[in-house]
Each structure stands twice: as C-alpha cells, then as structure tokens.
C-alpha cells in the first residue's frame, strides 16, 4: 500500500484532470492516462489498488467534472484523506462510491512513511501509531456508498424496486 501525499491546500479539478480532455475522455482507462497529470505526472503509472491519497484543505475545488473522483475510484484508491473537501467533489465521490475521510487531525499527524489504514464501518483512520475518528456519513449517503455509487444504488432502489 502506497500513500500519495499532496500536502497543499486547494488542489483543484484541473490539477486532478485537465479540462482540455473532459469531452474526449470519460471511461476509466481514458481517464487514468491523464489522472493527476498536472499535479504529479508519476501518479497514474504508480498507483495500485488499495493505495491512499492524503491532502490538505478544500481538495477537489473548481469544476464539476467527475473524472477526478471517477478516476481515483477506477484505479482502486481506497480512500482520500483530507483536511476538507470542496462540495461538488464530495458529492461526486459519493456518487462514484469513492471513500472520503475528512480528518484534519489525521492529515496533520501524517509524516512520510507512515502506514495508513481506514476503517469506514467504525469511522476510524489509523496513521502510524495513532487512531483518529472521523464523522460518519449521513445514512442516505452511506446507502449510496455501500451500493458502490449512485447509479448502482438507483438500479437497486428504483428499478428492481419498481418491478418487485
């Protein structure tokens, strides 16, 4: 498990996925090629399923484009841990089934080389030798996340529900 640490605040959606590709790349493999291209060109080649991203305040600010959240989910990032998230990105991550952990304490405590583990069921994040709690999602959002994202949730709740 690798932790990708981007300590700066206000990492915007253009850094996570450049706008010039937004209308020509929409599938997982297409997005992966340019994911975090202008922030960390090495990320896309190095990231493995189960890896974690640690960042500062207002992560994901800017555009409503969903390639950042969809891309991070596609490459298997287990969670993004940040001091805070921009609201459209926050919604989008839930819609994609990507786990976000808002814990300024955990981010402040983190130093390079620390092992990081997240346990969403109990709302705990382990950083090195410390454990930090994080506020659980409201039930409505948790249901979407558990189903793997909004459209899978809709399939389950509405479509199968309608036929039953």
């Amino acid at each position: 498990m690798t932790v990708f640490h981007y300590p700066q605040n206000d990492i915007n959606t253009d850094l996570l996925f450049p706008g010039k590709y937004t209308y020509t790349c929409s599938t997982g493999p297409e997005i992966k090629e340019h994911l975090l291209e202008d922030l960390d060109p090495a990320f896309a080649g190095a990231v493995q399923p189960g890896d974690i991203v640690v960042a500062g305040e207002n992560f994901g600010c800017g555009s409503s484009r969903e390639q950042p959240s969809l891309g991070l989910k596609y490459v298997g990032v287990k969670a993004v841990i940040a001091k805070s998230f921009a609201r459209i990105f926050y919604r989008s991550a839930i819609n994609q089934g990507l786990l976000l952990v808002q814990s300024p304490e955990a981010v402040n405590y983190f130093t390079e080389g620390d092992e990081v583990e997240v346990d969403p069921a109990v709302g705990k994040v382990h950083v090195g030798d410390r454990v930090f709690g994080f506020p659980p999602l409201p039930d409505e959002m948790l249901d979407i996340l558990k189903d793997g994202g909004l459209l899978d949730h809709i399939k389950k709740e509405y479509i199968i529900g309608d036929e039953a």
Partner: protein
C-alpha cells in the same frame, strides 16, 4: 428567529419545515447539462437500457463548451446528444451558437426566482442572480436525476454579504467579487449558501449580479443568491413571464458569517496564477507583459461587459504583441452588442471575434496558450493548465482592465485611461 433564502426554498420544495444541516430530497425544476450530456447519456443508458427520462420537460441541454466541434470526437459527442434529444422528446435543447449555458438558461426563462435548478457544471450558481437556488452536480448525479427526477441536499448554512455604496469609474462587479474571494479564500464559503444583501444590491444590473453569482463557486459556495427586485421583474417581463415564486430571507435570519463591502472602496484587482483567491490590487501587477487578452465567458461575456471594454478600445488599437480574443456570451447578447455598435469598435481595434460559447476558457480550442505565455482573461478560473497549457499563466480581471491592458500590451489600470 427568521429563515434564510436557502432554508425557505428547500422547505417549500421538500414540503415541510426544515433546519440547517438536515438532508432533504427535492425534485429540481430544471436539470442543465451541456456537451457533457454525451457522457451522461452513456451512464443513463447503461443504468436503464431503453429507459425514458422521468421528466423530459425539465431537462435543458445547451451545446456550448467545444462548439463548433473541434475534432471528430467532439462532433460524435454532439451527434449522440442530438439523437438522444429527438428520441426522448427534449424540447429545451439549444444547439451550437445559441450561447453559453449560463447565459442561455435565463434567456429561455428556465431559472425562475424561487425555483431549484441543478446543472452538471460548477458555474450553475450563476442563476442565483435571478433569485434561483442553483448549484452544480457531477455527470453521474445528472444521469441519476434524469432517471428518478430527484436528488438530495444538505440544507446549508448561510454567509451574508452586505453591499453599500457605488463603484467608481473603471471599476465593476468583477473587481468586487474577486476582492471578496481574495478575502474569503477558495474554500471560505465551502458548503455554504451566500446571500447578497444591502442598499447597493438594488443598483446592480442583472449582468453585474450574474458576474458576482457566477463566481460563488470560486469560494466554495453551494449557491450565491440575490433577492428578486424591480430589475428581476423587468428581465422576466421582457420574456413575457410573470414571477410567482420569488422568496427571500427574513430580516432577522441567522447567518453563520457576515461581511460588509462598500462598493466605493473597491479598486481594480487582478487574480494572479494559479488560484482565483490569489488577488492583489492592480498596482502590484501593472507593467506585467501579456500575450493574449480574452474577453468573454459566463462571467463577463454579456453586452454590458463588451461595451465597457469597447468604450476604452474605441479609436485605439490592440498592442501589436497582444492577441485580443472576444467571445460573446450568447447570440442574443451578440446581437445586442452589434446594435450598440460595440462589435464594430472591438473589430476595428483589432480584436478577433469568436462565435458565442465558452471559447478558450477551458483550454480545448479557439485560443489555447503556448508554454510560457501570459493571458489576461475575464473568465472565472486561472488554474494551472486551465487554458490548455500548464506552463502558461492566466491572470483574471474585469473587462475594463482587460481592455486597457490590451492597448498597453501589459497589465494597466483602467482608471488611468479613463482620466
């Protein structure tokens, strides 16, 4: 204790009294999507194969982001959207050249006071200028609302921004909102509703309110809203639409934070690379050489904005080292500017006119920058790589500053030209 605009609108839509922090499910009045509709159609069709949109009359699709198509891949996206529009019987479809979605939505009477509009574009918050509760969502959520007709909101806290006074010559709404963003910070209004109140609000033109509301997202806001007043009524009267659902906060509404700005204190400012909240008074940047000036976008592409620039450019020439690119916000605004003689002034000064649309704002075409170049833009974002090249620099300003700087070939205070 009184209620805020956000609480009132969401209470009415939810059909019950609600409190800040609560989660409510509502059916938005309209769902805006643009060129990204082709990706949304893919999500829609893979979730409900051969399914029908729940409320086709509530969809609005505007092609504006990469129009006319810059490549066959973009063209294929547009084609897919036109086919879907026909199949699903979507009447609110506006093809290339109509204008930028955030200009077209009000022009078509789709962002009524007191209504709720969502859009798969972060600058959907622009409609707050019309007393509309409007906010951005992602593509997946848009596909979800096409299917179910509804979505959830966490009822936001509200930041109140009280406005007094009036602008000095050469200073405009863009300088005000950039100043506010510089003070509040890129995440300072995160998750919050922002309300604009105070005696100066009545004097702000619709175009000014749109410039201000448009940039609410640049401080993280969920919505940025104005009360409906006589100018709002006139706007919709001209469209033959009567305002029925306008709503506003109570005088004793409780705000999470309150700020005050006297418009007569505002000076020309520049948002420097690569963050919108990196705002400085113009004198710190004067003399910075520029390669391109871009006048347009959903922030500053209206006839009033083009006129403010033309008033400075009339009889002058764009500096030989500068390319000046102009994109009117919509066909309607373009025609208005033509009738005012503004387009002739701009063309004679050496500006290049693009069709109505987003133009080079998002870095896909029509004025992409080269490595090392500097662009002074009236847009809303100066993020690294935004105009297609990460080694380029984008500075944001008002139309007045853009025009004065285009003549000088470097960042210049418009007040010096107007003196």
């Amino acid at each position: 204790m009184g209620e805020t605009f956000a609480v009132k609108v969401l209470s009415r839509a939810a059909g019950k009294k609600i409190r800040e922090g609560e989660i409510v499910f509502v059916e938005p009045d309209y769902i805006l999507t643009h060129d990204n509709s082709s990706a949304i159609i893919g999500k829609f069709e893979s979730t409900v194969p051969e399914g029908k949109v729940r409320y086709p009359g509530r969809l609005a699709i505007v092609l504006d982001h990469v129009t006319p198509a810059a490549s066959s891949k973009h063209a294929a996206g547009h084609m897919k959207i036109r086919e879907f529009v026909r199949e699903q019987g979507i009447t609110n479809f506006f093809d290339i050249g109509t204008g930028i979605c955030h200009q077209v939505m009000p022009e078509m009477g789709l962002v009524m006071p007191g209504s709720i509009v969502v859009g798969s574009d972060s600058h959907t918050c622009t409609y707050g200028a019309f007393n509309c509760f409007a906010t951005g969502i992602d593509r997946t959520e848009a596909a979800g609302i096409w299917i179910t007709g509804r979505t959830w909101f966490k009822v936001p806290e509200t930041m109140n921004i009280e406005l007094t006074g009036s602008f000095d010559a050469g200073i405009s709404a863009k300088d005000l909102i950039l100043t506010i963003i510089g003070d509040v910070g890129a995440g300072g209004a995160n998750y919050m509703a922002v309300e604009f109140n105070g005696p100066a609000v009545g004097g702000l033109r619709i175009s000014d309110r749109m410039t201000i509301a448009n940039m609410g997202i640049e401080m993280g806001a969920k919505i940025a809203a104005f009360p409906a007043n006589i100018m709002t009524s006139k706007y919709f009267m001209a469209l033959d639409i009567k305002i029925e659902k306008a709503v506003w906060s109570d005088h004793d509404a409780e705000y999470a934070r309150s700020l005050e700005y006297d418009l007569s204190d505002i000076v020309p400012v520049i948002a420097c690379p690569h963050q919108v909240d990196n705002v400085v008074p113009i004198e710190e940047m004067t003399g910075t050489k520029i390669d391109q000036v871009f006048l347009g976008t959903c922030t500053n592409g209206r006839a009033e904005d083009l006129k403010s620039a033309a008033d400075i450019l009339r009889g002058e020439k764009v500096h030989p080292n500068v390319r000046m690119i102009v994109a009117p916000a919509s066909r309607k605004e373009y025609l208005k500017a033509i009738k005012m003689g503004v387009m002739q002034d701009l063309i004679e000064s050496g500006a290049v006119i693009l069709p109505p649309g987003c133009g080079p704002c998002l870095g896909a075409h029509q004025g992409v920058l080269a490595p090392g170049e500097k662009c002074l833009s009236t847009a809303n974002r100066n993020f690294k790589g935004r105009m297609g090249e990460k080694e380029a620099e984008i500075y944001l300003s008002s139309p007045e500053t853009a025009a004065a700087s285009a003549i000088a070939g470097e960042i210049k205070d418009p007040r010096e030209v107007l003196r």
